[in-house]
């Protein structure tokens, strides 16, 4: 067991796994206590951990880093930027058809 723990690969894997499980427990607990609004932010934090450790983005080839950042960049520009213009500027939101099953 000690020999297993002395392996850095095992240590990194176990520590990351435990942190992820703690975050799942944290967001679940927060939701049950009526603070579910924090859960998506915990999800983003968990995603950042997965990108950094199991997906090894910081040590990835430069081209890979550029592609990963390009994905996030265009997500922000196309969806959160251009996509938000319509709902923010629309004055005749068609709620009537959304309110019926």
């Amino acid at each position: 067991m000690k020999a297993l723990w002395s392996d850095p690969a095992v240590r990194t894997t176990l520590k990351t796994w435990l942190v992820l499980l703690a975050l799942v427990a944290g967001e679940l607990g927060a939701a049950l206590l009526g603070a579910g609004i924090v859960a998506p932010f915990v999800g983003i934090a968990m995603a950042a951990i997965v990108f950094a450790i199991p997906m090894e983005l910081p040590s990835a080839p430069n081209a890979a880093k550029i592609f990963a950042l390009a994905g996030l960049f265009w997500l922000v520009v196309m969806l959160f930027g251009l996509g938000t213009l319509d709902p923010l500027t629309r004055h005749d939101q068609p709620t009537h058809f959304l309110s019926q099953p």
């Binding site: 799942v24 939701a31 049950l32 998506p40 199991p54 994905g71 969806l79």
Partner: protein
């Protein structure tokens, strides 16, 4: 006249070295994942917008989801991702047997995830939560609840399709590890599959709060 230099092990002719081949493969996988970020990003963005327009309907619909199965599946998928990550690290050392074990365990957990999801879907449909004429709900903002369940099936079905592809890829890695193909200078298929498998994990990690936790 230049001297002929034999390529290193497992480097195809178009690459200068095994490292060049590995970096190209990883960059290619990240390029694919960038398209996946945009693909799933649209789903999450739509979820945020519709939730903002129908807070009550989404709140009521969330209460009808199976929190236990959702939470158990979140633990399962996080564990599957970390088990395969351990396998990736063993592949870099050229250790094929641990890669085989990690792939089998991780793929098995993936199958358990899919099985639980199928069971949950049957439960949801049994409760009348299937979009369309058969949809049943109580309380206010039925339209909002209807939209929630539309997004629920769209998001979880797309995720299960990705999960199924991931299980097949992990099985392919297990098959190659069984043949002893991975070496310290040839392991990039394991890393590339690990990237995809972790990304599927990231998608679920972010679906979980939207489906089961927000507004509970």
């Amino acid at each position: 006249m230049s001297e002929f230099v034999a390529p290193r092990a497992h480097a195809e002719f178009q690459y200068a070295s095994a490292e060049h081949q590995r970096d190209s493969a990883l960059a290619g996988m990240w390029l694919f994942l960038a398209t996946e970020i945009l693909f799933f990003g649209a789903l999450f963005y739509l979820w945020v917008l519709l939730r903002r327009w129908h807070p009550l309907g989404f709140h009521l619909a969330t209460a009808d989801t199976d929190l236990l199965i959702g939470s158990v599946n979140t633990v399962i998928i996080s564990t599957a991702g970390m088990v395969f990550f351990w396998g990736v690290q063993q592949a870099k050392r050229g250790q094929n047997r641990p890669v085989l074990l990690a792939a089998l365990a991780s793929g098995g957990l993936g199958l358990v995830f899919i099985g639980l999801k199928l069971f949950e879907w049957s439960e949801d449909v049994g409760k009348g939560k299937w979009p369309g004429q058969v949809f049943q709900a109580h309380g206010d903002d039925i339209g909002g609840q209807h939209l929630f369940w539309l997004l629920y099936y769209a998001g979880t079905a797309l995720h299960v399709v990705h999960m199924t592809i991931g299980v097949l890829l992990v099985a392919w890695i297990a098959w190659r590890a069984r043949k002893g193909e991975f070496k310290p200078n040839f392991y990039y298929p394991v890393v590339a599959v690990g990237l995809y498998w972790s990304f599927v994990d990231v998608v679920w990690i972010n679906l979980y709060p939207f489906i089961y936790l927000l507004g509970r």
